[in-house]
Symmetry: C2
Subunit: 723 residues, 2 copies
């Protein structure tokens, strides 16, 4: 390693025999290491365990986990503060395996360090047909000891940045002199791949800017990816790049063995003034016959190879899954050590509660994920909204800004669209590093709850997942951008949905009405993705009242992300809209006696549909119903009886949906739709509606034409028709 | 600027009076500059033109374009090799405006330099309601002088890398000593935002690795974004970061005025041994009252402010859109200069044709976008495929590898999944820099047509767009990865569809059958995005024969991207599959007389549906039809008559679709569907099908249950039912 990088931060390191002492600004760390022989046995046992686990069902990813063995010992035995028997301990260090395919690395250490659920039987379920296995192909947040679900590469890096920000923020908010009730560190393991992914690069830049010195990335630098060697496609100087991004860099050249160096580096990282990048040279699939090659990555080594590993290690090649008592003993102290850490922390929190009873009560409520109910009376009543036409993006500010101001749980951020998304509030404090005095903007403070994510939509949402994953509902992140740019962020939005994280995404400038920015910004097909994405609510409110409903749904959705999708342009406030209707996904807005048509309107275009209905009724004598349909998934959750009552599919002649998006999915509810099946066009909002035939006059014509066509071709009644 | 960065490359620069001479390895460049007063007038005229264009309809983005004025003069007047009257000249320099919202920058220079279509009237259509305007809010590829459609930030950077790679590849393939028939340079303009976006960071790393010295990024460094100043969210050392990524860096400190410095830097960039990053300090909205602030970014300055600009410049505040004869004269030589460049090049190509007739014939065919028809007989016949069950990812290799080998048009790449996607061929040559000898892999060569994109899915697809945009169908890029990771790449796939670019995306590991990797890799909802995305074909073939059909469709689709979506696991070869059926999107696979049900099967699960039909027929006496449905959009393009004939919606009792994806959209074709509305689960392929009720036995049960439910509840017949 390179101590010089540390000494410049006033950190001194001494190693005497097996004791490493690091002293720096924050604290003094002393670690006593076990002997070399003991380490040797543990490392060999671990590597064989991984090889056996892949061999049993002839599949999986052995190489990375094996190469990282010494890193794991340095982390779980000597560095991380955690409690195997109390895995949800609030102040635990967070470990994120961004290279999630090496999951056996984590599963084996969870088992060895004594996590209750990870029994030896469970560990052996890897790649089995067991449907309740705790060892899926990538780590999943639902299981003990797993902080976030990783898999798609790079996400974990950004999640880690969010976890470290959460910790910084909670510490700045709740810690008091002598009472560091939040003081954990985040450790993120990455491979060569994560460092090539854009989402990670965005997050790395952000973390350096924020000076997150409670974050350490450990780089399993084996220079091997599926295609061969990394230098086929990447020859950058990663250390220089990380330094340029504001990170400390420490090199470990002998990473398969040098536990002393690794522990020293990790201890030093905890004293740094910025995030630390530990660049660890390892050998993928060490000691197998495919060591150092791509063949070690994603396939079992084969029976013979595993046998030769065992023989060369002095193990019996006929035996599998051997964990000797000496190895068990090596890890045996960890559950008790963990319990002691928790006990110490609980005593600290008790003393803190005595000294700061009010603050401590808030802290406990936040830890429990209780969102302060002060928000409910802050939601404006329908009568409180302006009566003039109002953009629903503005409505979202009218509904939420006061709540954001009042309820500390919300950390609100934007991918550089503050002037457009209406998410700021008077007196908001930016989350930023305390030494920062930006050229234009507020001085930084980690207590701040407004986050300038930069033009990094993907990292914004992946970082938000990390904020949310710190503890359930302790922080509820709110992100914001134009709806179209949630396509950049989609992989992270998906991971939030998969992990049941409450994250609220404020997506403005939806529909073709966003205008002049043109087809690159008009989200014709994006709603189709989010309406199909499991466990996510995509809500398009039609006016201020429905926007209130959307926010109520979002704040109450404690186990799922929500996208609130709003208009750039002003839309009328409609007399019949109802927030409770939004909570049911769709509801009857207008009901004529003996109606022959049900018209479905959505979001910014609901008012156009109301106008079509009025003209059908008044000018053509056609009795018509109008249904407002802000959220398909909420509607699907309603009882069949309610759904039938809303749609009246069996009574009316036809149901017609109107939305300037791709129609896919409306066929479930309607017999015909006016939709947009091509990309958009750069025009002022009103002109765009006209160009695409989405002004009320054009929609009326399409509707009448459809009715005529129904008369002319009886087969059409059983088909879905594009208007 | 910092000449030292250049001298290390053996480049010498001298400036005598108004003449800049740069000599380096490749060539000697000499540029004679106009006088300072002339530049001053042009810059002022340009800035006022931009201000007026935003003022007329009180909207748009003036600030960036104004700050970049001097950069534009350096580019269009002194540096770029292009022909305004022959905008499609093959060997022109490519200019990409990655910060596309500053489109007036490009539109004004297109007008001033004499592009025919960009008349003064057209220029003034910016933000108007004119539906055939050439001045949309972001540049669009359809218009003269625009190389790619930009808008979503960061895409343009990656497109530029693709354009530069295309040029390197074509040069390496076709140039001969003394005949540099391909020798153009790519210039990419970026703002602060582009350099924060992950897709750009991925592409920058790749370009540095490839040593693309025919690529220059010009950074409009005004340190202002929508939220205020860049240092709110980004304090990295960008120059060091770029150097770490393998780029030359040149600083221009006085970028609003220093045309000499800019021209020198650009000339030097053409002599560099690697890509160059010109970091130009500018002032956003220079000389307006909001200069240097975020207010200058996205709104007109206001009447008074524009007037004060004019007054301070010595212009008449009462007049708008003033372009004096002197300014016209400044740019007047450019059309003729351009024509002379084209003439010289045509003479060169003529001489080349005489010297290398065969090569020149190939070159001309490639320039014309003719894909060598040698591919058609290479597509295997149905009988040529193995009869054993075969993964459709393997089928895709069986169909395409020989074509890739034989037809130079295809540049095939992967985001580091070569062993999984079956896209290599014997003797394939990697595209890589010639001095590279990777640790594992082939030595580099720019003639290579196999691209290791690294673990950079988003950049892969955005770079592929650049390869395709070099000239229509001159290069047809093929990308490959797991289907799920095409969510990372979705913004770029979208931009390819929007630009009508032929790019073929090979997406393997679709469906839940991809198995152990689990829910992070199982693409439950992703097909919904791509089926809704305009101008894109998403094709899921069911076996080798249908895979052949998918490839035929993809190669013939000269104006749209195609995703060929294939299975990881082996699927049976079905007797009745037909490639011509794939070309129609859906077709009748099995037809019983007097059938009462139509079953829709797709891709990897078609064989399950065939089994369900067999059991319905044989065990339950229910006459059944089976439709194979690989591509919804191709089917939608068929005549109504064909569609009715395939589905028989009016004759059968019900149509049932079976696909382990979110159902949204199948409602158009079916009355009921077996689908998956939750995230996946990590299990071996077969176990996953069973777990989700997608084995034939479960599907049969669901089908029979549905028929019973139809009997019990007559309303169900008019509703879509989830099985």
């Amino acid at each position: 390693m390179t101590p010089s990088a540390l000494e410049s931060n006033g950190v001194s390191i001494t190693t005497k025999k097996n004791v490493i002492e690091v002293s720096g600004k924050n604290e003094k760390t002393s670690v006593a290491l076990e002997g070399v022989e003991s380490h040797d046995l543990v490392l060999k046992t671990f590597r064989l365990l991984v090889a056996d686990l892949c061999q049993q069902f002839n599949g999986g990813h052995p190489g990375g986990a094996i190469g990282m063995a010494a890193i794991g010992v340095a982390l779980w035995k000597y560095t991380m503060r955690y409690a195997p028997l109390q895995p949800a301990w609030f102040n635990r260090d967070r470990f994120v395996l961004s290279n999630g395919h090496t999951c056996l690395f984590q599963y084996c250490f969870l088992h060895l360090t004594g996590y209750r659920s990870m029994t030896f039987t469970q560990l052996k379920s890897y790649h089995s047909e067991r449907v309740d296995a705790l060892c899926p192909g990538h780590p999943e947040i639902e299981h003990e000891g797993i902080e976030v679900t990783t898999g798609p590469l790079g996400q974990g890096v950004a999640n880690s940045v969010g976890l470290a920000m959460a910790s910084k923020h909670l510490a700045a908010t709740f810690n008091r002199p002598g009472f560091n009730v939040v003081s954990n560190h985040t450790w993120c393991m990455v491979g060569d791949a994560c460092l090539q992914e854009g989402v990670a690069l965005e997050a790395i830049s952000l973390a350096g800017h924020y000076r997150l010195n409670n974050l350490t990335i450990i780089y399993d630098n084996n220079q091997i990816t599926c295609d061969g060697s990394v230098d086929l496609t990447n020859t950058e100087n990663i250390n220089d790049k990380m330094r340029a991004c504001g990170w400390n860099v420490i090199d470990i050249l002998d990473g398969c063995y040098d536990i002393t160096g690794l522990v020293t580096a990790m201890a030093a990282a905890k004293h740094a003034d910025r995030p630390t990048f530990i660049n660890v040279r390892t050998v993928i699939g060490l000691d197998s016959q495919v060591a150092g090659t791509a063949d070690a990555h994603g396939a079992a080594f084969g029976r013979d190879d595993v046998a030769q590993m065992k023989t060369s290690y002095g193990f019996d090649p006929a035996q599998s899954f051997v964990v000797s008592p000496a190895v068990r003993a090596f890890f045996a102290d960890l559950p008790a050590r963990g319990d002691a850490l928790v006990q110490d922390w609980q005593s600290l929190v008790d003393a803190y509660s005595a000294e700061y009873p009010e603050l401590a009560a808030r802290f406990r409520a936040r830890m429990a994920g209780e969102i302060d109910l002060v928000w409910t009376p802050l939601v404006p009543a329908k009568a409180d909204f302006p009566s003039k036409p109002t953009a629903t993006r503005a409505s979202t500010g009218l509904v939420f800004n006061k709540i954001a101001q009042a309820v500390d749980t919300f950390m609100v951020g934007t991918a550089d669209l503050s002037p457009s998304v209406y998410m700021t509030w008077p007196g908001k404090q930016d989350f930023n590093r305390p030494d920062l005095m930006p050229t234009k903007g507020d001085p930084g403070n980690y207590t701040g709850r407004y986050i300038h994510y930069g033009i990094r939509e993907h990292a914004m949402c992946a970082v938000a997942n990390g904020l949310a994953a710190f503890a359930p509902n302790t922080i509820v992140p709110v992100t914001s951008s134009f709806f179209m740019f949630y396509l950049y962020a989609a992989p992270a939005v998906r991971m939030g949905a998969l992990q049941h994280l409450q994250v609220i995404h404020v997506a403005t400038h939806d529909s073709i009405g966003m205008g002049e920015d043109g087809p690159t910004h008009q989200p014709i097909e994006l709603a189709n993705l989010y309406r199909a994405m499991p466990n996510l609510l995509y809500i398009r409110p039609a006016d201020s009242e429905e926007t209130a409903g959307a926010w109520v749904a979002a704040i109450q959705a404690k186990k799922q992300p929500v996208i609130i999708s709003t208009s750039r342009h002003a839309v009328p406030q409609l007399a019949e809209t109802r927030r409770d209707g939004v909570l049911r996904g769709a509801y009857v807005l207008q009901e004529d006696a003996e109606a022959v048509l049900t018209l479905i309107g959505v979001g910014a275009e609901l008012s156009h549909v109301v106008e079509v209905a009025a003209r059908l009724r008044n000018d053509h004598g056609i009795a018509t119903r109008v249904v407002s349909f802000p959220c398909q998934r909420l509607f699907e959750a309603q009882p069949l009886e309610y759904r039938r009552q809303v749609l009246q599919r069996h009574r009316v002649r036809a149901i017609i949906a109107y939305e300037p998006y791709a129609p896919n999915g409306w066929e479930r509810y309607a017999n015909a739709a006016a939709s947009v099946k091509r990309f958009g066009h750069s025009l002022p909002s009103k002109a765009a509606y006209k160009y695409f035939g989405f002004d009320a006059t054009s929609l009326l014509e399409k509707t009448l034409d459809y009715l005529n066509r129904l008369d002319a071709d009886e087969l059409l009644a059983r088909e879905f028709v594009d208007l």
